[in-house]
């Protein structure tokens, strides 16, 4: 055996050692370093992105909060001096639309702040999904009308689901607004809802320009839209989908984006029923009882 080892070259020996010890070294230290290095790189590129994002956000806020406010003030002051009923009617419609936009943006900014503060406390309630969606569509009517979009609801006759109604509302409002905004030439948005395997499945589809593959991964980042700069043709701060993503996660659900450039986009969310958390002794998760050993005190 000793003799035969002479036939090995150094490289072969090192190779053999690596083969035998490699998995051990690899898994403990090497991975750690690779992870660290990756993390540092990601962090530094992220910091640069973040700076850019923030200044973009500020300029968005300037445009999209200031502009509606300026229009509202201007329109309101001209109403006070206006004479014909026709003119008053037209202007108040415009005021309503601008105020609606403003209100929507402000709500999103507040929800985003609540998520960042960890202040959101999901509530358990039996929610009528049908009326919730119908309510959202009628809430968004000013926007739907002004964009000339048709929203088609594909709903079962009856669907009640245990979840947080306020969070689900915010999710739906943002998914709908987004689809309406990007609905493209044929101006159709389809909302499909079903309950499958005890989960709530909701998908919102538009037939607009779609999102290119490389931009799909940034779509859930805050302050980001696929389009930026002067060519940007859609309002918003890029907060909407970020909020949707975070809220779906808070409800323990998943979100999926399917988009083909030039064909349109479908966003599909899946939410499990809200877990019963009542009582501190018996606790049930997904229907199965948890088993605890002896209680300890700290």
């Amino acid at each position: 055996m000793i003799n035969s080892s002479r036939h090995f070259t150094n490289d072969q020996l090192i190779g053999e050692l690596k083969n035998r010890l490699g998995p051990m070294i690899d898994s403990s230290q090497k991975n750690e370093f690779i992870n660290l290095e990756e993390e540092v790189r990601r962090l530094s590129s992220f910091l640069q992105e973040s700076e850019r994002g923030k200044s973009q956000f500020l300029s968005n806020v300037r445009n999209e909060i200031n502009n509606p406010l300026t229009s509202i003030l201007g329109l309101a002051s001209s109403i006070t001096g206006s004479t014909t009923e026709e003119k008053v009617k037209r202007m108040s419609t415009l005021i309503y639309q601008q105020a609606f936009e403003l209100d929507f943006q402000m709500r999103n900014i507040i929800v985003a702040a609540e998520i960042e503060m960890g202040d959101i406390q999901p509530m358990n309630s039996r929610v009528n999904i049908i009326t919730l969606l119908e309510d959202q569509v009628s809430y968004l009517k000013p926007k739907i009308d002004s964009m000339g979009v048709t929203v088609k609801l594909q709903l079962p006759d009856l669907l009640k689901f245990r979840t947080d109604p306020y969070l689900l509302q915010t999710i739906c409002a943002n998914l709908l607004t987004n689809a309406i905004e990007y609905s493209g030439a044929n101006k159709l948005v389809i909302v499909d809802v079903t309950e499958r395997d005890e989960h709530l499945h909701l998908s919102v589809t538009d037939f607009g320009s779609g999102i290119e593959l490389e931009k799909q991964k940034i779509i859930f980042d805050r302050f980001r839209q696929a389009e930026t700069g002067r060519t940007k043709s859609h309002p918003g701060h890029g907060l909407g989908l970020t909020i949707v993503h975070e809220l779906v996660e808070l409800l323990q659900g998943t979100i999926e984006l399917k988009s083909i450039a030039g064909k349109g986009t479908t966003i599909h969310i899946q939410i499990p029923p809200f877990l019963q958390r009542e009582g501190s002794s018996s606790l049930s998760i997904s229907g199965s009882e948890l088993l605890f050993t002896e209680e300890e005190e700290f």
Binding site: E39, L43, I115, M117, G118, E246, L250, S288, E297
Partner: protein, 165 residues
């Protein structure tokens, strides 16, 4: 021991990625797998706060929410400071960060890094860790009494760990 605590105290279930701190007494319950919860208690004003985070550091994706340890710990300290606490009066207890052998390396790393984040940040804030039950293969259910700093803990069976976060 439990007698005094069983009087009507508000209950709160703490969800992952959220935090809780109020001056009035509460019993806060949460379930931890690889997640970590940090309980802070103000020794002078006698009230506490708690967080529940899933990942060690915010990596820049999504929002800087209390889903991440660095954000969750800073926010909790901030919140207690707003409620009137002085950092020098705070003590901490850390729970969670379980990992099973059968689970993959990534989860194992996350659990350990979650624990390390708490230790490191609390240390840098000079907040003393007075109790800690972290790591190991089993998930945990904890109930934190915010008025007494008492934490009751039960282990979850390893088979149920995947259900917890």
């Amino acid at each position: 021991m439990m007698k005094a605590l069983d009087v009507a105290i508000d209950e709160h279930f703490l969800f992952p990625s959220t935090l809780f701190a109020e001056r009035s007494p509460h019993r806060v319950q949460t379930i931890l797998g690889s997640c970590v919860a940090v309980c802070l208690f103000d020794l002078e004003m006698e009230y506490g706060g708690i967080n529940h985070y899933m990942l060690p550091w915010w990596n820049g994706n999504g929002m800087p929410s209390p889903k991440y340890g660095d954000v969750a710990i800073e926010r909790l300290i901030e919140k207690m400071t707003i409620l009137g606490s002085r950092k020098t009066n705070l003590v901490a207890k850390i729970f969670g960060g379980a990992s099973q052998y059968t689970l993959n390396r990534e989860v194992f790393d996350i659990s350990n890094r979650n624990i390390a984040t708490a230790e490191k940040l609390l240390n840098s804030h000079k907040i003393r860790i007075v109790a800690q039950n972290t790591g190991g293969p089993k998930g945990r259910k904890i109930v934190f009494h915010t008025q007494t700093n008492q934490v009751l803990m039960k282990y979850l069976e390893p088979t149920e760990l995947k259900e917890a976060v």
